[in-house]
Symmetry: C2
Subunit: 362 residues, 2 copies
DNA sequence: TACTATCATTGGTACGTACAACTTCGGCGC
DNA sequence: GCGCCGAAGTTGTACGTACCAATGATAGTA
């Protein structure tokens, strides 16, 4: 036999969940509930305390008890979970800093964790989030080019009214999701065009196959070449994954790609700075000079890009600003506003990894 | 006027925090507390409810109320707050990664925020923590060489049974605190000895005045010189703060220091890589060569150290490992175990910023 | 010795009352 | 129309009583 106060709490919980009370509505007063359920006021208060501890309602002395559906408070401080592939490597520190500064300005707390681009890690992190008092999420999608096994968890978040903003990549399977991404397709075009404008005709590419960014950058790259009536040769395009990124260039697929160099490949669009460095390392071993023998353009403008030799010409990711935009969108949604997705533009940073053949025509 | 139940709760909280009750001890019964405080049983129950919500005690019908030191439950997932001076700069990403990997392995959530070495930021972050469901804290002390204005907040955390592990620097005003720090005094000795063993006799120093690390490194540096009967000249020691670190070398104090070069200063112990870079920048402007005209040794072995020219000889901070140790200590404490502070050793990384005068004697 | 029944103790549930602190709103005076 | 004030309404604090449910020790019994 269930105690009365639990019964009352359940009834109220149900009434709130079913939409009988909307966000901000005043609940029946304690006196009214006392009559409605035929219990004492103390019992009613005990029941409401349960709801209050769950953050479902807030009580205001002298005023009433109110449903706080969206404006959950856990004590006034909003807790935002941030899930990225990596935390401390590459461009992620800057993105995280952008997120943190925006959140901190609004007195939000940031919970940070990393998937290492593994869907199983993503899964356990999401489950952890569901068990913890998180009010919103910023997620970098994991292997967004592949069907995601965790969409059910994202839908659960949605049901719990925990908004999610995706960054860098998102899951097309979740149509309602808000995302902040780079304009990867256009970035692919920009990179290919940059090389083509400088007179290169045999332009290869290194792309990541498990992230949507890789697919989009490839798409932009190939369509730019086609527009210029340049051939996109499959041998000049090489795909890699999270798992083999550090060694594929030394495997069979990579060897075939490197072999293209001897068949006249003059320039390469690299998925990002990291893989560009990997490529440059292999080229150095084979005494192939960058940019004299091969020109390279890559993405992200990470810290590496300005340090290595030769310095990389890359499309710059806005990093801090990017993180800030994502955090602000999330906070707007948590505050009840409507938000739309954003696609941010790349900006070109010219350095030394592309050989000067001739001036661009335009 | 504080309500009675809050007063009772505070008294009990205090009794638990002060160690009057040990882990697992039974609290006084409700009837006894009623007599002790001269309040009704309901009031006592209300007070105990507060402690129960904080996870300080558990109640067992028919048996009693017990202190559950560490066995808090919030929702199964432990939430660890991490407060550092910076998040994404310098060596902090590596430390954070170490913390995260240790926490993640135990299914803990990490909430990250930055003080930018400002006590007012530290204050507001701590207040935020007190309002949020955080089960433990890793804190890098802010301006640990100065009297800290926020010790009351730390004591409040202590009373709420939220353990704190300090890293890099701690507050001597809080005697019970567990900390994980580098052996800064010994580091100062190592740096000075390294230079002295290579034949340098006129050794200056650049130290940070607002962090305890700066004081300790200076202490090690000066005692090492004294042990070798080398003079510690005040003109060769320059102090800076968080606020002026980026410009003091161009101010009057810095100019006086640079001036020491012309009076025969041959080598400098730098507080960290960041300030070493700052110094090298100024030296370059004045056409003073490192290491030919001035040798430099610094601390931390940040990413910069291996990239700049000349590459820096530094004492290496264990970063990842350091973060992992701190996280593990905190988790042990949260699990109810006893933990002690740790002082980790530096390891020398020799590069190109110290001129070779002669072989060390030993 | 081992098991059981009993019973005092302890926290859990439930109701009642009284008053305090605060909000809201309507009415009054200006 | 504006602002002040007080009444009414609502939640917060505090005490009291009564009984229930679980625990654990004790005494009694096989």
């Amino acid at each position: 036999m269930e105690p009365k106060y639990q019964f009352v709490a359940e009834q109220l919980r149900h009434a709130i969940a079913s939409g009988e009370y909307k966000d901000g509505d005043a609940l029946l007063t304690e006196a009214e509930l006392k009559l409605k359920f035929g219990v004492s006021r103390q019992t009613v208060r005990q029941a409401i305390s349960l709801l209050e501890n769950d953050g479902l309602v807030i009580r205001r002395r002298g005023s009433g008890t109110y449903v706080s559906h969206g404006a959950r408070k856990h004590s006034g401080v909003l807790n935002v979970g941030v899930i990225t592939t990596y935390i401390t490597d590459y461009i992620f520190p800057s993105i995280v800093r952008g997120v943190e500064s925006a959140l901190s300005a609004e007195s939000c707390i940031m919970s940070l964790s990393a998937t290492y681009n593994r869907t199983d890690h993503e899964r356990s992190l999401l489950q952890r989030v569901l068990e913890s008092p998180v009010d919103g999420l910023i997620v970098e999608g994991t292997k967004t080019a592949l069907p995601n096994p965790n969409t059910a968890l994202y839908e659960k978040l949605w049901e719990r009214n925990i908004p999610v903003v995706f960054i860098n990549g998102y899951y097309p399977q979740l149509p309602n999701a808000v995302y902040v991404v780079m304009d990867d397709m256009r970035g692919g075009r920009m990179a290919a065009n940059y090389l083509a404008e400088r007179g290169f005709t045999r332009i290869g590419g290194l792309f990541k196959s498990d992230d949507m960014q890789g697919h989009l950058r490839y798409q932009g790259y190939s369509s730019a070449l086609q527009d210029r009536n340049l051939r996109v040769q499959d041998e000049m395009v090489c795909w890699f994954t999270t798992e083999n990124k550090n060694r594929f260039l030394r495997d069979q697929t990579g060897e075939a790609f490197i072999h293209s160099l001897h068949n006249g490949m003059e320039a390469v669009v690299c998925y990002n700075d990291e893989i560009a460095l990997e490529l440059m390392e292999v080229l150095r071993e084979q005494n192939i000079s960058v940019p004299d023998d091969l020109s390279i353009i890559s993405f992200d403008n990470s810290a590496y890009a300005g340090v290595c030799h030769p310095k990389l010409t890359t499309l710059a990711h806005p990093k801090d600003e990017f993180g800030r935009v994502a955090a602000e969108k999330l906070m707007n949604i948590m505050a009840g506003k409507r938000e739309t997705s954003a696609i941010l533009p790349w900006s070109l940073v010219e350095r030394d990894s592309v050989r000067v053949l001739n001036r661009p025509q335009e």
